[in-house]
Subunit: 428 residues, 4 copies
């Protein structure tokens, strides 16, 4: 048996379709973004191309879900791609052609699924892969998602439950899937009044991946994950979400600091507490009322990228990549920043106040790297905390975003940052 | 427009099929119990014969629900009786023949419904009575019952929601229904994380009854109702449950005292906070593992009947009436006790401690009536509370269960009661 | 034994010093306000003059408390008036001279106390009235007030606890006190992590009043009282607060409607759920930063008085009475309004929505009286609810604030009210 | 500035007086236990001798606290040892003589304090070290301990607060204190209704230690600490309690597994989440009703020591050491077990079910060490989890408690353990 942590030795980097295409993503969208990664980002480590929710629904077309929409499924109650949106899936080929193309670009392919079994399969009295077992037999009828009508949860104790999940992941392995984002499963205290099946379903999914014959990153959504279950998540998943959906909103970004401070001990070794996709660049492309470039200011975008990097969150870009401007591209191609995300160690908060945060880590060469974050609206001065000052010598401080270097004694360094701004320095 | 309180000027008295037949009750069972009431109980005020849950499910046969079982419904997504269990419903007659027979005995007829619209109707893409509206359009997809898979809640704001409920109650009025117990609707804070639709559905049902052209008692289940919504319940319903299902278990009986103490101010004027059915006599008749005579001792049964009476709860017998023994029948035919339930006033707790309770009321003739309850395991002495003693004269005290009368000064009266025992006295 | 409800057969009406003088009230302030009542309000039913908190603290001078300030007490750890502020208390006379003067005006006298025993008495190792018992022996050391440092709660089970409370109320009876507002005692779920002693202390206080030989209204503060304890409060007190301190703030007034809807069943028969003092007229007289005329608009003041009246709350004026303007005085001298407060019955909400409320009652002559409240910011139209319309005849509708009468059929009546406005009509 | 983590590079090992002497410990008791450590345990790493609560109270004599007892303090409101119990403290010498003696044995000395300032100092209107500031000025009057009446919390924002705490730790440094257990401070969500000052007081204490000129281990009590504050605790303390007081009770031991699973990521680098003292040997020596040898069975004692070791909890013995029997001593002198506690890495739970737990770590030589725990009442079989099996070779497995070695392939190993039993194996 393989170690599940080998599937994600560093924080996964890639792109996900949700922030730009919502439920309406198509095969063409996936390939366009894959090509952009191949041509612009692959050399920096970006590799996953992830197709988010509703690929099995022919009518999906925007960020809004369709209540009780008909879904495409096979004889064993397994959802399969809608052929009108993913033409290469015709003839029962599922995502295998798409995956092959993406693999051909030197990239990896991921999909999103909802935990559970389609409600439609229950009412059509369909069977699952195990002989004599019907969808209704393994459905956990009260374990329903609060925001999507497609699925019932699976009763992990029902005969056939594991076989059903195994049949899913066997199919995904056959398609060539490298990454699975499972949704409606991470906030395991979501409905305390009820035997919510998520915890057990996570375990079933872990087993199914372990036995499917292919490495896959397991990413759990949505948050907030509860830290009391940190060990369970560490044992079973590679990524898990710390909050509900993250968007281009300063309040959400500010609150993420508190979450990172709570979870940083769980980062590393194939486990990557997940701050969610980067809502940067061109968002909600096909939704007339919502389409926009990210609402974050440039300063806030740098703050966002700096936190995700020094916390070692997965980096999954959310915007439509071909529409990137130069600034957005520059955020994704700074080798110093990506190195911090991929290769630093001993990452931890030093200061966490209402108006500021300071994080520190050791970079891959053992140099201390320190990030100052001004979380307030006003200018604040930052100094290097006493505990990082070991001598009275002159050091070099490299600003990892700007690239400039200054030389000074650490105790003399002082920087003023405007509201919402940040700075990350390598000390050597 | 009529006043909804006129439908239940005194606490409703009758029989309900759940405690004896579970989900498997048949037309024959209803008529057998109706005949028993006609022959033995009607003269004491017992009148409602209520058919509980799953009468629309052909396969229902016990206290256990069948997940995702097929249900009988008409062209407008309205559930109708299963013909195999209710033969007189053939030919689209619904419950009208049964109701007619029961009315012919001088009694009244009631049914149970689950709030909402059948999930089956959603997945079969059925219409409702309003043109162009489908079941799925008014279904509140996340508002599901925790213990039964039949229905989705109704989104009260969806076009067609009121029309759907009106079409239900119009049909019930046509059948001749006098009493409707609506389930999965009373504990309105059941799922605080979600826009649970119950409160709005109660209002829709109120309107539908007001406009259906027939008086119907509206009974809401299950509890616990929350007292912060006491006004809303008072405005809309005739009965509402104070707890989850009540069974023959001393702990549940003991806890009911605390609930009665909390709710007694809401009793009267067509509003009857409901302690639930009387689990007496022969219970779970057709369930081999559960069939039994009530587990309550005789003392506990008297305590139960005394509390239900002096609190003025509805009195709905739960056992299979034809199997009653003499003691059970005697509990239902004590005119003094029934008078307290039907006609007393100013009912209130005087003492409510962990080990005891004392309640008092004025009977229909204005005589004080006092009930002593020993809630502990040990013998306790009771005296008449000081505030009820207005003079130093000799009074008569009639024991309403035993019928004997003693004469004494109130300040001298003292009675010892064994654990779980009670006594109710008229003072005059 | 007397019935505690006889002390407050109708909602108490009077004046309290807190809203105008805070902790710094003096004997002179009390008498000035008493004289105003004698001359202007007594004929309308206003009678109580209540001295609020800190009368035992020589240094109290404003709305702000002094942490750990020295207090005046007698040999038995009982707090007594500070002589510098209440000169007539010299020579151990306590409040007896003040009470006598107020009684001489035909009015009644009340005081405020904090539950418990002075912390100072504990640390000075003082005795209580019971031989051999010290203050520390009955102090509940963890049962402390969250906003005032004067007292420890009393451990109701400690020997001497009842004797201590009895000694307090015996002294108050000797002084001639008619009304006691006990503070830090009403929100009995205040500190769920701890054996908070308030519930038991309420019972001790009830006993002490019953045995002190003088009728006293018992008023409990602060709220929010919890309705699960409604019976306990009804059994022991005459008034209890529904919320935290009420001030001249529309949001607080709007929220009071929800509280009244929750509690109206508990009103009557000597029990008066309490909406708190009327923050009208000249408030915070001696506090330079806070002194003001009420911030409520005239419309809001009428809404306030209408709600307090039709809910039958106690009416305790909070402003410095001698500074009243004509409008303020007019609010207190409308005989129709005061009659509704003092003598109506069957008071209840008919409609309670986010944007509006409608209440109804029967006045002392049996005429329906209806109040419309616009709780929104915008104009709203009100009609008479269907259930109050019994015939198609012409009725007279008297506007109780304006005094004018219109004649119409009830089904035809319609009134538009501006945001925050209300109207109360007698129908005959 | 020093790094606070240097004060506890490995989990502290030692003895504390609470479990054997309660509040009544004396100088003589401390020295007797110190001598035992010197003679029997020092060579295994045991070094701290910690004097627990109430050393400043002359009347303390048992495990029960005395409400409002007079305390000994100096001119600056600092508590000092009661001379009758700690004779060497006469003449203002505090604990310096005792500390010197213990240092002379090659051991270290610790004390317990309650956070805050004596209530007695407030009521005696004493000053603190800062000119013009009185105890009452820095007391947080509502921040009181729920189980001890000695102190008020300190308002961290009050002028003088830091100076007060600094004056305490300066005195302790002068005495020669090496370890401070601060109580009533760790469960920082203890009273959510109130601005509980604990979090800020932790920071004040951290500063005071950093500036006192002497290394001191900072240990926080009681638990449960909340994991959302894990970072704050890591930043400021060396040890913090995971639960309320731990005693010789299997249920408490079983629940500790869930706590260890939650907190294991926070262990290491000078931070030692604390499972509490070891309630072994002779407990409650001077309390006639409670004195006993530990109620844990031998199997349970081994389970306890195994968990504390593989979780790397501090090891602080609670019994009166001179009364140890051979078995108890053997638990403290197993070098393999102590090495796991002091020098292992990568410690983590692999399995955490209701009935069992499996933990693993790497020992100081890099060998895997695995512990099996049977948490049920019945016999259970354990195998080595698949993920630890890297080859099919023969390995040696040393049972660290029994010392015996067996050789087998890891996949073949299987052991049955009785209820409450455990086993810890080194694999090499």
């Amino acid at each position: 048996m393989k170690n599940k942590n080998d599937a994600a030795k560093t924080p996964p980097m890639g792109w996900n379709s949700w922030d730009c295409f919502g439920a309406g993503v198509t095969e063409k969208d996936l390939l366009l973004n894959a090509e952009y990664i191949r041509d612009n980002l692959k050399e920096y480590g970006w590799e996953y191309v992830v197709c988010d929710i509703q690929w099995y629904e022919p009518t999906a077309d925007s960020v809004r879900y369709h209540k009780f929409a008909p879904l495409c499924m096979d004889e064993f109650s397994r959802l399969i791609p809608a052929e009108n949106r993913f033409p290469s899936s015709k003839g029962g080929k599922g995502f295998s052609v798409t995956a092959e193309k993406i693999h051909g670009m030197g990239l990896k392919f991921g999909i999103h699924i909802m935990r559970g079994i389609p409600r439609q399969a229950v009412y059509e009295r369909r069977r699952i892969i195990k002989d004599g077992v019907f969808a209704g037999d393994i459905a956990a009828e009260y374990s329903v998602c609060s925001w999507n009508t497609d699925m019932y949860g699976v009763d992990a104790n029902a005969p056939g439950a594991l076989e059903y999940y195994q049949s899913l992941f066997d199919m995904y392995a056959q398609w060539g899937v490298d990454f699975v984002k499972v949704d409606d499963i991470c906030n395991t205290e979501f409905r305390p009044d009820n035997p919510y099946s998520a915890k057990k379903e996570i375990e079933l999914i872990r087993k199914a991946i372990d036995n499917c014959g292919r490495d896959m990153v397991l990413s759990l959504s949505p948050g907030p994950a509860v830290i009391e279950h940190g060990h369970h998540l560490s044992r079973n998943a590679n990524m898990w979400r710390l909050t509900g959906d993250f968007w281009d909103d300063w309040d959400k970004l500010k609150k993420m600091f508190r979450k990172c401070e709570m979870w940083y001990k769980f980062t590393g070794g194939g486990c990557w507490p997940d701050c969610d996709m980067l809502p940067l660049g061109h968002l909600n492309v096909n939704d007339p009322g919502e389409t926009r470039f990210t609402r974050f200011t440039k300063d806030e975008q740098i703050t966002l990228m700096t936190l995700w990097s020094i916390f070692r969150s997965p980096l999954i870009f959310g915007g439509h990549l071909p529409d990137n401007d130069g600034f957005t591209l520059s955020l994704l191609t700074n080798r110093d920043i990506i190195d911090i995300n991929q290769s630093s160690s001993n990452n931890r908060p030093l200061i966490s106040e209402d108006d500021r945060a300071v994080w520190v880590c050791d970079d891959k060469n053992g140099f201390k790297t320190i990030a100052f974050f001004n979380l307030s609206e006003d200018e604040i001065s930052f100094k290097i905390p006493q505990e990082l000052i070991e001598d009275n010598e002159i050091h070099s401080l490299k600003d990892l975003w700007k690239g400039d270097i200054i030389n000074c004694r650490l105790c003399d360094y002082c920087v003023k940052l405007c509201g919402h701004c940040s700075k990350i320095l390598r000390i050597y």
